[in-house]
Amino acid sequence: MTDQLGALTTIFTEFYYWITVVLMFLIHVGFCMYEVGASRYKHHQHTLMKNTMLIPLVTVTWFLFGWWIYWAFPTGPGLAPSIMNESAALITDESAFSAKWYVPNSSLMAVNLGDHISGVFWAAFLLFSWTAASIVSGAVIERITTFAFGICAIAIGSVFWTIDAAWGWHFDGWMLKLLGYHDAYASGVIHAIAGGFALGILMVLGPRIGKFSSSGEPRNIGPRNPWLVTIGLFLIYTGFWGFYAACNIPIFDLGPEYGMEGVTYWTATNIYVTPTTLSGITMNFLMSLSGGLLAGYLISNNDPFWTYSSGLAGIICASAGNDLYHPIQAMIIAMIGVVIAYKLHYWVERKFKIDDAVGAVAVHGYAGVAGLIICGFVLNGYPSSGYSVGSMWVGTDYAPINPLGMFIGAIIMFVVLGLIPGWIIAKVLQGMGKLRIPREVEIAGLDYDLMEASRSDEKAVSSSTR
């Protein structure tokens, strides 16, 4: 930073991401409140601790290897060559955006006067990792062990979502080049994968005791504290707004970046380094939230739990293309996503006896998949990248956005990187006898001992005041 303009741009970008990280922390606060509100009284404290402990577990592993995966895997490896070094191998060379700089013992992974961006960018992605793990957390409450959840949280938060981010959420990702994949605000790379991963675990974990009658009819185990759920979801909305900002590069000169001689074009860009505006995405965020709420209110017969969740599902569904949609398109897409997610949730519950305690698979998984597929049609023909637009399946060019590529992308997110790994990991943990808490504990309540100790404490205090 030797000139004022360069310094201003760098420090502004550093501060911008720093602010988004703080805002996104609210997502996790919201998830904790939401989950505790949805759980039964006798499981409250363990539910809270399970979700809370994913913060250090995902953070430490994100430092050790998660961030490295993001920078190493854009090529597959072996699926499409990098535009930086023209090799399809893991990107670990000396190039500027190589994973070489993000091994945990790199001097850039610390206070470094020569790098003001890596740390805040690392943190922004880390907050996305927490979100992915936290989405899974809600679905499995009241019966998974904290140990098993910790392993699952690391798997989704520091391994599988970061692989999908490298593939489909990186300017050099092979899914952009071969499929024309476009997912500006993470309908797929966060939500569809986390929903799929949760579904994979739920298939092995099984329902809560009493969720289904002996004839297989589902029973409603509604939220125990609707006010906590409400505030939690409001906080998730707020954090999600920060997430939208974090998915952008706030100020960037696209002229030299695209190799346009003599052209200077300063703009905000999305994660793929194609232009958008914070102004426009703010309209789209709010219109898709509104579409979700409107549809959710009607379809759920004004059930507060589903109406709030639908606001979230609406944003999630529109997120893939919210960098380019018209606000009214965003609203309509959100409404469609909510109807699909709501209907699918109850169909899957009845048909396959899947007990998704907070509707996470529906709100994140089904709405995310729907959003990707819709994006393929609405943004059909737009370039997936500004670097070099070509045709599908040519690894050296970037395919344009198209319905088939987005459909395949949705399958990769939900099934290949979500459901299948979730199912396999849950099966292994089940085989070790570590996946599910004992039946007696589930009936008594995970907090039984804590509550008993609390009663003893109260008695002791009361007796001393006589």
Binding site: T61, N112, F147, D449
Partner: protein, 73 residues
């Protein structure tokens, strides 16, 4: 341990060294320590949780027993 002992000298050098944390060069050892802490935590947590669940399961409380423990602080 100190990497910087004089900021004026440090920042006026021909090439300013970016890494200013204590113990530059020991990053590998720090990573191994972090790895041990991470894996060790899982082992300790798993042992504690298994014991807790086993003890609680043996008591065979009913679904409503916890209600008698609800406190009014």
């Amino acid at each position: 341990m100190a990497t910087v002992s004089n900021w004026i000298d440090h920042l006026s050098a021909a090439e300013v060294k970016g890494a200013v944390y204590p113990g530059v060069g020991t990053e590998g050892i720090l990573c191994i320590i972090a790895l041990v802490i991470w894996i060790g935590w899982h082992v300790l947590q798993n042992n504690a949780e298994s014991n807790h669940l086993e003890k609680l399961a043996r008591k065979r409380h009913s679904a409503n027993d916890h209600k008698s423990n609800i406190t009014e602080w």
